[in-house]
């Protein structure tokens, strides 16, 4: 086998059968038109589902003579209704990209030298397994860690499953505590149902514009027009056209903000202060649903003011019985579940009983928001108090309504508290499980045990002594809900060797160095690792540092089950190229190699009887799907043929008031999926989580260094313009980030159709600030934080809050083979902060709401970056030369 340089490797790969894309035409000419003598095209349409982002929109892929030649939305998809966005519509350019990873490659020469040798899958996986087993023998399985995140086509639980089975507690993703987990955790603990994230394909009530009564929607740090244009963006759009009132909380004037009834351009990182002010206003003005709060939340329950724990009535049975202050009797009484009509529970009060001070949950909530008047919040958040009031009134005057909380608040150390506060507001308003609100427990097909991802994590396979070694797992116990480690704790362990030295890293991602905070620290850490594996559809900056590269399948090559409202959609392969494999299969194959080398857990993972509901590992994706599709009475092959199909009639699927359904075991209403069956606005279980890890850790863990708080509190960002200190004087602008509709996380920067529309990251700056710093529209500028500086193209616009700077995430595939490896030029994560303060519950670091300065880059754009449409021509699908195997 010949040794080839990375450049050769990138250039040597192209595909057969395509016509010449002369002059950079992104279109495909039919084979039958391509020249004399070509056979008549054989055409079929594959009903599949996109995975250019996580929205999974239904797609009709036209395949002619084995080549995908056209993509259109599938009208049978109830969420996208036949529409697609720029990311999905450019899927052919991703599939047929000339720089795909095509074969497993093994590094030759120095790490980072960019020289590779093509190897077989057997050789690649064998070598990885050898290294894993050797590391496990010498240092323990915990010295191996895995990661996902950054976009692409993963089945996220595949990674957690492999780690559990291999015996390492350490996998992480740069999202997780920074993206979505804070909301999942809070809504799960307080409500026990699905959180209202539009970008995560929840908020399903929005997809029935014809008959939902929803009248107000608060888009808090979310921009569905940008994150999921064809599904959530389209649905909100349709509802707006039908009269829905919207409020948008966002420092950036997104399309949704521009179309809203009221835009609240908040200072980044201050959301909790504003949420607490909403809560106070709603309480003070009696705008909460008093009857619902009394009957269905835990706010009337008495709390020991010193221990902060609820007062339980001794007795047996589940749920526990809690004490209330009965106004009739003038004393504390046990409140039988679900409600004792003979009692008159006091909602807001406190009483000294036998020397112990008890307060109702409601009183504690009221006290926790007392300081947050409209004026106070206005001062913190940079908003007019009257404007805040107007926004609250839009939400409370137009009922039913709901708050859709987005990712913005997940990206600062105040993350979990933001989700708790937002959830509390909707719960106070009684916006739960009635028509027209977002917190719902609609029925599911039961094919997927958890939403969106079918692979069982096999949690019990991780021995308790290994779980205890999870990096960050004691401090940030909320991470156990996703069985995940804490990125900064893993980073610190690599850099310091404390508490132990991680040595082997298996990553699947769009580009780890573009999505982790403070990429420079991670680049430094990479130098300390023994062995690095990267799997993805195309090379990324991270590939440059890898020892083995594995080629994975694009979404047009893969199969997956997608549940979309009451419809099951199948992602099904429309093509297959090169020697690529489905990521979900790769982890299985790796486990098999470890089993061959004597790993007991991996061997057991192939034993169907032993694995039970955790499922035995699979030799093909079809074998895996055949384990789970029987939930709808068929094998996967049949499902693929039928899909999309409705697994339940819409009326039956859209189940409202689930909490009132009778529990057949007790004859009582089933309530909510929380320990008390009530809505736990006073979140006592947060205290338990901090002390023990329960219920998310399967075994008790030592207490966290800080007690977790049962009610939300505001945390001013560490770097803040409000502090008037040395940092804020040198770095006067607050940075925020967010989606644009052309990319998903770190993916798609190599797609000509997208790069030509958005070639470099835009940096939005208000004219007030632009004038102050001598920056003009269209100038290249430096954006600099305490941690580094990068360049971007300045867009001067009043659509960004003064004092705030918006920068889109970016990396540059075109400079992959240079010294920067493409992650150092324009990558906002060079600026972000990976160190404390962290969120107390889940360890969130600072991806937004930190301080930077901006100044003109007299040098212009970074060297080698592509900015003009024609520059991207070499990334278009190109005609193939023959691949005889010798060259590669």
């Amino acid at each position: 086998m010949a040794v080839i340089s990375q450049k050769d490797y990138l250039e040597s790969i192209s595909i057969g059968g395509l016509t010449d894309a002369a002059f950079g035409s992104p279109g495909f000419v039919k084979l039958s038109q391509a020249g004399g003598g070509a056979p008549e095209a054989f055409s079929r349409v594959v009903k599949t589902a996109c995975r250019a982002c996580i929205a999974n929109c239904g797609v009709l892929a036209t395949v002619e003579n084995g080549r995908v030649v056209k993509l259109e939305g599938n009208p049978e998809d109830p969420m996208s209704r036949g529409r697609m966005c720029a990311k999905g519509l450019s899927g052919m350019q991703a599939l047929y990209h000339p720089n795909r990873n095509k074969y497993p490659l093994k590094r030759v020469g120095e790490r980072g030298g960019g020289r590779w040798r093509r190897v077989s899958w057997g050789e690649a996986l064998g070598e990885i397994a050898e290294k894993l087993m050797d590391t496990r023998d010498k240092y323990g399985a915990e010295a191996v860690f895995c990661s996902t995140g950054g976009g692409g086509n993963p089945e996220i639980w595949s990674i957690a499953r492999f780690c559990n089975i291999f015996g390492t507690p350490n996998w992480f993703e740069p999202g997780c505590a920074q993206c979505y987990l804070p909301r999942v955790l809070s809504y799960t603990m307080m409500y026990g149902g699905v959180d209202p994230s539009i970008a995560d394909s929840n908020a399903l009530e929005l997809y029935f514009p014809e008959d939902t009564p929803i009248r107000a929607l608060v888009l808090w740090g979310t921009a569905p027009s940008y994150s999921c244009p064809a599904s959530g963006g389209r649905a909100v759009n349709e509802l707006r056209a039908r009269g829905l009132k919207t409020v948008v909380v966002d420092p950036r004037l997104t399309p949704d903000a521009a179309k809203s009834d009221l835009w609240l351009p908040i200072r980044p990182g201050t959301d909790v202060a504003l949420l607490l002010a909403w809560t106070k206003y709603i309480i003070d003005h009696g705008l909460y649903d008093r009857d619902f709060v009394l009957r269905w939340t835990n706010l009337p329950f008495l709390v020991n003011a010193e221990t902060k724990l609820l007062w339980r009535h001794p007795g047996v049975g589940a749920p526990d019985t809690f004490m209330v202050w009965d106004a009739n009797a003038g004393g504390a009484k046990p409140m039988a579940y679900p409600y004792d009509e003979a009692l008159a529970p006091e909602l807001d009060g406190e009483h000294l009983i036998d020397g112990v001070l008890y307060k109702t949950g409601f009183r504690l909530l009221r006290e926790s928001v007392e300081a947050y008047t409209l004026e106070e919040a206005g001062g913190i958040c940079g908003l007019e108090p009257e404007r805040i009031e107007k926004a609250i009134r839009i939400y409370t005057d137009n009922t039913p309504g709901a708050i859709a909380l987005g990712v913005a608040t997940d990206q600062t150390p105040n993350s979990v508290q933001a989700a708790m506060a937002a959830c509390a507001i909707d719960l106070l308003r009684g916006n739960v499980e009635k028509p027209g609100v977002l917190m719902q427990r609609f029925r599911t097909s039961k094919v997927l045990k958890v939403p969106n991802y079918p692979v069982p994590v096999a949690r019990r396979m991780l021995p308790p002594e290994q779980l205890a070694k999870r990096l960050g797992g004691t401090e940030f116990k909320g991470l156990h809900i996703w069985h995940a480690g804490h990125p900064s704790s893993i980073l610190d362990a690599i850099l310091t060797g404390e508490p132990y030295q991680p040595r082997v890293w298996i990553d699947r991602s769009g580009n780890k160095l573009a999505v982790v905070a403070e990429s420079r620290r991670w680049a430094e850490a990479i130098g300390k690792l023994d062995f690095i594996v990267h799997m993805h559809m195309c090379p990324t900056s991270f590939s440059a540092y890898a020892d083995i590269l594995l080629p994975t399948e694009e979404w047009l090559e893969t199969n997956m089950i997608v549940e979309t409202c009451n419809t099951l959609v199948a992602r099904q392969a429309a093509a297959h190229l090169w020697d690529t494999k489905d990521e979900t299969l790769i982890w299985s194959l790796l486990a098999k190699e470890c089993a061959k080398r004597g790993h007991e857990g991996c061997a057991k993972a192939f034993d169907a009887e032993f694995m039970g509901e955790d499922l035995p590992y699979w030799d093909s994706m079809e074998e895996f799907f055949d384990h789970i599709t029987p939930a709808v009475g068929m094998r996967f092959r049949e499902m693929k043929e039928k899909a999309p199909f409705e697994y339940l009639p819409k009326e039956e699927w859209r189940s409202y008031y689930v909490y009132l359904e009778e529990d057949p075991g007790t004859g009582l209403p089933r309530g909510f999926d929380t320990p008390s069956r009530k809505l736990e606005v006073y979140l006592e279980s947060m205290i338990t989580l901090g002390r023990t890890g329960l219920p998310f850790s399967p075994v008790p863990l030592p207490p966290a260094p800080r007690e977790y708080q049962p009610l939300a509190y505001y945390l001013e960002p560490e770097e803040s313009p409000a502090k008037d200190d040395a940092v804020s004087r040198e770095f006067p602008l607050t940075l925020t980030s967010g989606r644009v509709p052309f990319y998903h996380h770190s993916t798609l920067r190599n797609i000509p159709a997208l790069r030509e529309m958005y070639p470099v990251p835009e940096v939005l700056l208000n004219p007030v600030d632009a004038n102050r710093y001598g920056i003009g529209d269209g100038d290249w500028i430096w954006v600099e934080s305490k941690r580094g500086r990068v360049r971007g193209l300045c867009c001067v616009t009043r659509g960004i809050k003064p004092g705030t700077i918006f920068m889109e995430r970016f990396w540059n595939p075109e400079t992959l083979n240079t010294g920067t490896h493409g992650w150092q030029e324009m990558n906002v994560n060079v600026l972000t902060k990976s160190t404390a303060p962290f969120n107390d519950v889940v360890g969130t670091y600072s991806l937004r709401a930190f301080q930077v300065k901006a100044y003109k880059a007299e040098e212009g754009p970074p060297e080698g970056v592509l900015t003009k449409p024609q520059d991207f021509k070499s990334w278009l699908p190109a005609p193939a030369g023959p691949t005889d195997g010798k060259e590669n």
Partner: protein, 215 residues
């Protein structure tokens, strides 16, 4: 009489550039750089924080008095009464006659023409002639994520576009840059913000001169 057009419900355009730019380019095999349809951002304008901003997908407006036809030296560009009566009202290009002088590109007030380097000829939106021949809607209309594009015959009072224009109310329906004298047939519905009747370069100029409503 038939006059097929694309109606843009601007209130519904979310600026995602998927259907109107990416699907169009793929469908029509357009080179990197030019575009048959461009989705412009107009604004923000108004008094901060009560700002307006809208997105404007602009393609050939299928004018009754097309500037491109007027300036075309070879007759390659045409729209005559006969064709409008007979067919679809689309401004057409006879590729065989086009000499690539690019007069049309300079003349069009909508910047809706571009030079096709493969054919060495001017090109523009033809409302997806090939798709229409198969009974399908133009690619932009079919794929638009915001569901803001509608295709139909504005001369037919029963068509969807005519119905939507009626329902929007006269004051909310706009033609782009009518002052050009081209008599454009494309229509834009904008109810929720003041219509500026500008493309971005004009907006930038107006903003510099304080004419964008910014105090």
């Amino acid at each position: 009489m038939s006059q097929w057009i694309i109606l843009v419900d601007v209130d519904r355009c979310i600026g995602c550039k998927g259907g109107c730019q990416v699907a169009c380019k793929t469908e029509n095999g357009i080179a990197l750089g030019p575009s048959r349809c461009t989705n412009y951002t107009i604004g923000p304008y108004g008094d901060y924080p009560d700002l307006n901003m809208y997105f404007l997908p602009v393609m050939c407006q299928q004018c009754d008095q097309p500037a491109c036809v007027k300036v075309c030296p070879t007759g390659a560009r045409y729209k005559d009464a006969a064709s409008k009566d007979a067919a679809d009202g689309v401004v057409k290009i006879d590729g065989g006659l086009c000499v690539g002088c690019q007069s049309c590109i300079r003349a069009c007030p909508y910047q809706a023409n571009y030079f096709n380097p493969e054919r060495k000829a001017a090109d523009k939106c033809d409302l997806c002639q090939a798709r229409r021949d198969r009974g399908e809607q133009p690619a932009c209309v079919r794929n638009c994520a915001g569901e803001c594009l509608f295709f139909g015959d504005i001369d037919d009072p029963e068509s969807e576009v005519s119905r939507r224009i009626r329902e929007a109310g006269e004051g909310n329906v706009h033609a782009l840059k009518e002052a050009s004298g081209c008599k454009p047939n494309g229509r834009f519905i904008l109810r929720n913000a003041p219509w500026l009747d500008m493309l971005p370069h004009e907006f930038s100029r107006a903003a510099l001169e304080g004419g964008d409503g910014h105090e």
